[in-house]
Structures are given as C-alpha cells and as structure tokens.
Amino acid sequence: MALDKFQIAQRIARELQDGFYVNLGIGIPTLVANYIPEGMEVVLQSENGLLGMGPFPEEGKEDADLINAGKQTITTLPGSAFFDSAMSFGMIRSGKINLTVLGAMEVSQDGDIANWKIPGKMVKGMGGAMDLVASAKNIIVAMMHTNPKGESKLLPECSLPLTGKRCVKKIVTELAVLEIKDGAFHLLERAPGVSVEEIKEKTAGKLTVEGQIPEMIF
C-alpha cells in the first residue's frame, strides 16, 4: 500500500541524526518535524532567519513578528537564535545545514530538480529553493511518484525549468525510497505491499534494482 504523506514524512525522519541542523520545505517536508525521534536533538532552520524553530503557538499567543519561511506563525525553543537573511543563506551556502528536505515537481536521474516554475502558468518565484538546492550537502526530495495525470516525476531529464542541477541525493515518494547516483535512481526500499514492478512502471528515468528490495516497516 502506498504511503500517505505522514508516512513519507515519518520515513524521511529516519534520515535524521543527533545534532543535525535541518531545513524543511513547505508541505510534506514540514511534517518531518513531527517524527523526530525521542531524545534526538535536531535543530530546525527557517531561512527567513531562525535556528530552533518550535511548534505553532497556542491559540492567542501568535506573534506577527515570529513566522517561518512559509509565513506561518511559529514559536521559538530554548537555544533559538535569530539572524538576518544574508547570514541565514550564508550558513546554507557554507554547508552548515546538514539536511534539506523539500518538495519537487520533477527530479532527473542526474539529480536535477524542478520545483519552481511551470511555463504558461503564473510564476510566483523560487524563494529560497535555488539557494538551498545549490548549497545543501544532503538534499532529500519528498514528493509523489507521479503527477496528477499519472505521469512519472522521476525522469531521464527534467522537462520543466530547473531549480538546480545535480543536487538531489535521495527521494522519498509514496512508493519508494531511491538514491540518486551515477546517473540513475537506485531503489533502496519499497512501501509496504508495493511491488518492484509498480515502481519500475512509474519511474520514467533509469532505475537500478539490485538484489532484494526491503519493504519499509512502520
């Protein structure tokens, strides 16, 4: 059975390590924060200028001066620090953020990512996505394996305008966990009950399947 968005987030959370500084994009990536293992210290960065992002505020305690990169009201945690946008992207560019998780419209077998622009549609802008993908040492994409039309989002080459080239290291979809290396998607894990055949069928780019592919356990 394909994963739901919470399970995708849960699976990505298993990539976290104690002491990681992590930037979570809007959508499914944000949910990863809910699955940080007990006792593990992970510090969330919000690229508008905060390290140590806490949960949403209690009703009535929201503060317009305290928002995340998705413009949502949030809170701080003990140990938080604020800084300006240049320092925020400075720490991203210098590789101080251990893991970046973000969504995508397309990913290529070379690790190219497209997630900001659809020709012919109103373009809202790339925000911080281009900076993040160009700089992060470790990028995981959280996305559906196919688009609403059923077409694969794991492609030989992206058809949409790129956000960044050769940057995605890992993808977690509702069907599988895949690593990108040597110009191919390497299948690492299957969603419970999802067959390798189905994943093959829904992956348009080059897919490498080596040995037995374990099922994820939740």
Binding site: E62, I67, G70, K71, A86, A129, M130
Partner: protein
C-alpha cells in the same frame, strides 16, 4: 546631525518618481508599514522596488501596486496577490525574480562595499542566463552584482536618535541588510528611544547606516498565515 523626523510623510518627502527603493520585510513580517502608507499618499510613481515579496492585495507593497506606482519589482517570491498577477500578465508591471539568498547577499554586498559576489544559487538554471559562471574548487558559481538603491525603507523594533536599530525576532530578515545597502536609509521604529538607552552590544544596525528615523504609528502587523495549536 538631524536624523529624527516627526513622521513618515516628512521622512519620505523628497523621494522622487523613478526611484529605486528597497523595502524590508519577509512576507508581511517586518515591513515598513508607515513608509509604504506615506508613499501611497504621496503618489510617487515609476518605482523600482527591491523586496523579497510584493505584499498582498490590500496590504504591504500591494497598496503601491493597486495605485500603479510600481514599474518594476525585484523579488524572490510574489505569490498571494491577484492585482500583481493581473499587472504582470497585462505587461504593466516588470518583474525580476531572483533567488532569496542572492537577493539578501546582493544587499549585503552593497552594504559591505563589495561590487559583486559569487553564489552557486541558480547555476544551470534560467537564472544563470547571461551571467558569468566561474568555477572555484570544482564548483560553479554565478557572479552577481551588488544592488544600487536610492532609498531603503526599513522597519525596526527599537531605534535611538542616532539611528541605531534593534530588530525583533524574524521581523529582522532583510531589514538590516537593506539598511546598509541604500544611499539613503529611512528607518521606522516601533519605539524611538533617547540616545544611550540601547545596549551597544545589542545594536543590530549601527546608526552610521541610518540617515533618517521616525517613530511609526498604528502598526497593524497583519498575519499572513495564522497557524496555532490547541491549548
């Protein structure tokens, strides 16, 4: 040294049509509400605005757009604004979209007297078109130029009469960067305190960067995405 102005109207009185203006804020957080209101009232036209976002239909830079005061927006993300979209599609409004970190660093570069910086953001994308690419240590970077802005409208939490500023929480964002970057920086503060009241170790923006300062009025501080949890 006369930096203190009574209000936004006076502090912005000489901004001419056609100016390039930086506006601090991220979304609606930390935006110069009084400065924008004064620009709307004054009707200054043909503005080039450098700002991470473009406000919403009835708030922030959206108010300037509604009056057709903006010729060009230089931003990283401009969603959530129907009038913006209409003007863009009709060709009334020019838009230059640049990565958020590049936007921030081009401000910083101006403030630090660096004519250009190198960033990997946008390499291999359409953002790189026409730009110089240079490889350092096996990685490609784009050469991006420092901004050249006439005015910066920034918003701080507290300021003193010498122009020293302290920002609050994520309302800091682009404000200290733009304060450093423009030829003339106009700061509005929630609280204007006498010189000597701010701890010199806590000042985020030194007064040398601020040419004009005034205490803003009636901050609405609108929340764009109210997200809460139950008690």
């Amino acid at each position: 040294m006369k930096k203190i102005f009574d209000n936004a109207e006076q502090a912005l009185a000489d901004i001419p049509d056609g100016s390039t203006i930086m506006l601090g804020g991220f979304g609606l957080c930390g935006i110069p509400e009084n400065g924008i209101a004064a620009l709307v009232k004054k009707g200054t036209k043909e503005l080039t605005c450098i700002s991470n976002n473009a406000g919403v239909d009835d708030f922030g830079i959206g108010l300037l757009l509604k009056q057709h005061q903006v010729k060009k927006m230089i931003s990283s993300y401009v969603g959530e604004n129907a009038e913006f979209e209409r003007q863009l599609l009709s060709g009334e409004l020019e838009v230059e979209l640049i990565p958020q970190g590049t936007l921030a660093t081009r401000c910083m570069a101006a403030g630090y007297g660096m004519p250009a910086i190198f960033t990997p953001a946008g390499v291999g994308t359409e953002v790189a078109e026409g730009k110089e690419v240079r490889n350092f240590n096996g990685k490609d970077y784009l050469l991006e130029y420092a901004f050249d802005a006439d005015f910066a409208l920034v918003k701080a939490w507290k300021g003193d009469t010498q122009g020293n500023l302290i920002f609050k929480d994520t309302a800091r964002n682009f404000n200290p960067l733009m304060a450093m970057a423009a030829k003339i920086t106009i700061a509005e503060v929630e609280e204007l305190v006498p010189v000597g009241e701010l701890d010199p170790n806590q000042v985020h923006t030194a007064g040398v960067y601020v040419q004009r300062i005034f205490e803003g009025k009636n901050y609405e501080k609108r929340i764009e995405q109210l997200t809460v949890r139950k008690k």
